[in-house]
């Protein structure tokens, strides 16, 4: 059975995805890009980047932003407005619908879009290695019936069965699995290349319903690029008296540099703009070299970002929804990568927006999810918890957290590790299940605890207690402890171990980062203490076991060092403890040395603690002392 692909047929760019392994996967074009420009030369029959490259010399034949005319009548207000700035010829076609005229030939918007879809179809077939016959296509929430029909027709012209048309904001919500999280009211903030759309969705049983939508059809990333370009050109003009906008090549380089700087400033505080040989004056080359800070960029585009919030307020009003009632906010469109945009959205809605999915790809991903639901590739009954967001582990000697399942492990998953007792004759261990990123148990979330008793008395470190964590697809953690000697086992089931809110998870991660240095030091100190403790135990045991075989002066030396080590454990620093531990260890080794020198006694091994041996994959750790 062939796969159903999900297509985001955008105004500026289009994107396609398909469900694979239960997840939406973006299909790359044959040019190796994740999106293709929605640009077509219908006479030469070229599409995408190639069509874009000849736009300058073929302005009347290179059709872009055709989505603005899709399913609209020639007499529509918006069509009349767009005619003013679109360089190609638009006229009234059959039934008064808007059509384009290229070299005397008429093309409907459906036919133009069909060419984009044709390229998408063949790229998808190349990727999947099989024929593609069905698709889900997305449309803006405000598209009326005529516009939706036209979109469907475009698919049919391509030879695709358009299984369903879904709204772009709905697709975005599906991409984040918000239908499974039972988020009731969602705001989708979509700032794309050329348009801004804000939509309020409501989850009604299993379906998303559009409560209200608003936006600005001429506000997008292109406007942001333009502001930067103007700034750079004005800067150069002031310093050099030349307007780079009059030189086509300089203008192109400026445009590219502006876009590149904008992107760079989403991850850096400063961007270098370096354009050597940008132009010539009096036969001398001129260069444009400057820096653009994030702060300056935010100043330059601030008004554009502010502009988006008027439609947002209007949309909330139409939906009759108060800001506080919004459960989730979703960011869509490349421009939402800008930190200032994210900040303003967060400030406005008072919550962290969903933005982990690539904002250029999220609509196509959602269309693929819808395609998956229809073809049965997607199980709605399983909770959308793909990975465990925080590390899971147990508490070990010294109040340290020992991880078992690291964060971001795909579930279902499981891990088993061998632990042991911390004291001689310890007959029970307490398993304290923890969740979090901090090295110390007390700084993490306690999920539960239980005791495994009936461990046969033995020297510390000898018993083998197998601790297993099993995390199923529903996020239920079963922690089991089993004594390998007796076979006795105890376990607890913890539900909701992944039921933390996004905020809680982010906070925990942030806290861990903040305290990383201090935590590390503390953990090292504890580990040094544990090591020292162990060394004392081993030394005392060795002395006892070796008995008379240890020469008196060596025995005294060791006893003295045991004493000083015990003292530094009481009040010494981490370094002191480590130093004294090594000291003691050095002396201790002399016992063995001595014994081998005196006589080779078969069966008398150097007292090496079994705990010190680390077999591959089998880490023997001390369990917590429980009384």
């Amino acid at each position: 059975m062939s796969k159903i692909i999900g297509i985001d047929l955008g105004t500026t760019n289009s994107c396609v995805a398909v469900m694979e392994g239960g997840k939406p996967k973006i299909i790359y074009s044959q040019e190796g890009r994740n999106v293709i420009p929605s640009v077509v030369d219908p006479i030469k029959r070229i599409v995408g980047d190639v069509a874009k490259r000849q736009m300058v010399i073929n302005p009347k034949n290179t059709i872009f932003s055709i989505k603005r005319l899709m399913g609209r009548r020639f007499s529509d207000e918006s069509v009349k407005n767009d005619i003013k700035w679109l360089p190609y010829k638009i006229k009234s076609g059959r039934d008064g619908m808007a059509v384009v005229d290229v070299d005397g030939k008429t093309f409907t918007p459906q036919e133009i879009s069909a060419m984009v879809l044709q390229k998408i179809k063949s790229d998808a077939e190349a990727y999947l290695g099989e024929k593609v016959e069905k698709a889900v296509i997305t449309v803006p929430a405000y598209f009326d019936d005529s516009q939706r029909q036209a979109t469907k027709q475009a698919g049919e012209i391509t030879g695709l069965e358009v299984v369903t048309i879904i709204n772009e904001p709905t697709a975005s919500a599906l991409a984040y699995g918000l239908d499974k999280q039972h988020a009731h009211t969602i705001a989708v903030y979509d700032l794309g290349g050329g348009t801004f759309d804000i939509t309020v969705l409501e989850l009604n049983k299993n379906f998303f319903v559009v409560k209200a939508t608003n936006g600005d059809t001429h506000l997008g990333g292109d406007d942001f690029d333009k502001v930067i370009l103007e700034y750079l050109a004005d800067l150069f003009k002031k310093e050099n008296g030349i307007d780079l906008r009059h030189d086509a090549q300089a203008l192109q380089r400026l445009r590219d540099a502006a876009e590149k700087a904008k992107i760079e400033l989403s991850s850096s505080m400063e961007a270098d703009i370096n354009l050597p040989f940008i132009t010539v004056r009096d036969n001398q080359p001129l260069h444009l070299v400057t820096k653009l800070t994030r702060a300056k960029l935010e100043l330059l585009v601030g008004h554009l970002i502010k502009k988006t919030f008027d439609p947002v307020k209007a949309c909330l009003k139409d939906a009759k929804v108060d800001i506080s009632k919004i459960d989730e906010v979703v960011l869509v469109g490349g421009m939402t990568r800008m930190p200032k945009v994210i900040e303003e959205v967060k400030k406005f809605f008072g919550k962290e927006p969903n933005r982990s999915v690539n904002p250029d790809e999220v609509v196509a991903a959602g269309a693929a999810v819808q395609a998956g639901i229809i073809s049965g590739d997607y199980n709605k009954d399983i909770l959308l918890i793909d990975v465990t967001p925080l590390t899971l582990g147990v508490e070990t000697l010294g109040g340290v957290m020992t991880p078992l399942i690291p964060r971001n492990t795909a579930i279902p998953t499981g891990k088993t590790e061998i632990f042991s007792t911390a004291a001689d004759s310890q007959t029970q261990v307490e398993i304290h299940v923890l969740q979090g990123e901090r090295p110390m148990a007390r700084d993490n979330k306690s999920l539960g605890r239980f005791i495994l008793s009936g461990i046969p008395p033995a020297p510390r470190g000898v018993p083998q207690v197998e601790v297993s964590f099993d995390l199923d697809t529903s996020g239920i953690l079963t922690a089991t402890a089993k004594d390998k000697a007796t076979g006795k086992a105890q376990s607890i089931k913890i539900t909701g171990s992944t039921g933390l809110t996004k905020e809680e998870i982010e906070n925990m991660k942030a806290e861990a980062e903040k305290h990383k240095a201090d935590d590390k030091k503390e953990k090292e100190k504890i580990e040094a203490r544990n090591k020292a403790d162990n060394m004392i135990y081993v030394s005392e045991k060795s002395l006892k076991d070796a008995g008379a075989k240890v020469p008196k002066d060596l025995k005294e030396e060791i006893e003295k060092k045991i004493k000083t080590l015990k003292e530094s454990l009481e009040k010494g620093t981490g370094e002191e403890i480590e130093e004294k531990t090594k000291d003691l260890s050095d002396s201790l080794q002399k016992i063995g040395q001595n014994m081998y020198q005196e006589q080779a006694q078969p069966g008398e091994k150097k007292e090496q603690t079994p705990k010190e041996e680390k077999k591959k994959g089998d880490k023997v750790e001390e369990g917590e002392v429980v009384n």
């Binding site: 392994g21 070229i46 490259r53 300058v56 086509a248 049965g376």
Partner: protein, 161 residues
């Protein structure tokens, strides 16, 4: 002794109805899981193929990615050469060209030829005698082993109309 006895006949058939329904449901489930399994297996096998392809192409991909980022250096050296006939600069430039040639990078020949959007991007239109000819190369284009590494940026002629 008007005792009731259970109607032994009815009971088995009611039970059997339930068992039959349960069996049908289970059969359906099995079919569903079988399909899901086969699909997951197919996805996995496709992924395997793709991973191998990607791995094999990795060297090429990395070279392409690296060289495309270094090309502006060459562009600027060539521009500098227009204004400065410094021997050292020209030597450096030639050395750079030699290195990238060693990796299979070749310049795309577009000047004077018919404009082809597969190979070049038109930045400006100029008046000319013939239509659609590349009159000036503003930025050179390069191939990497028959693949387009970077398209050229050119000026194209249009007959005065």
């Amino acid at each position: 002794m008007d005792s009731l006895i259970k109607d032994k006949k009815k009971k088995p058939s009611v039970e059997m109805y339930h068992w039959k329904a349960a069996l049908e449901k289970t059969k359906k489930e099995v079919e569903e899981y079988k399909n899901k399994y086969l699909r997951a297996l197919a996805d996995y096998q496709n992924l395997e193929k793709r991973v191998v392809d990607q791995r094999d192409n990795q060297r090429n991909n990395i070279i392409q990615e690296l060289i495309v980022k270094l090309l502006p250096l060459l562009d600027h050296m060539e521009k500098a050469e227009i204004f400065s006939k410094d021997k050292g600069l020209i030597l450096a430039k030639n050395q750079f060209i030699k290195v990238i040639r060693g990796f299979g990078i070749k310049e795309i020949d577009v000047l004077g030829k018919e404009f082809n959007p597969q190979l070049a991007e038109a930045i400006d239109m100029v008046k000319g005698e013939k239509d659609n000819l590349v009159t000036e190369v503003l930025r050179k284009g390069y191939l990497y082993e028959d693949r387009i590494l970077r398209v050229a940026q050119v000026k194209v002629s249009k007959k005065a109309n």
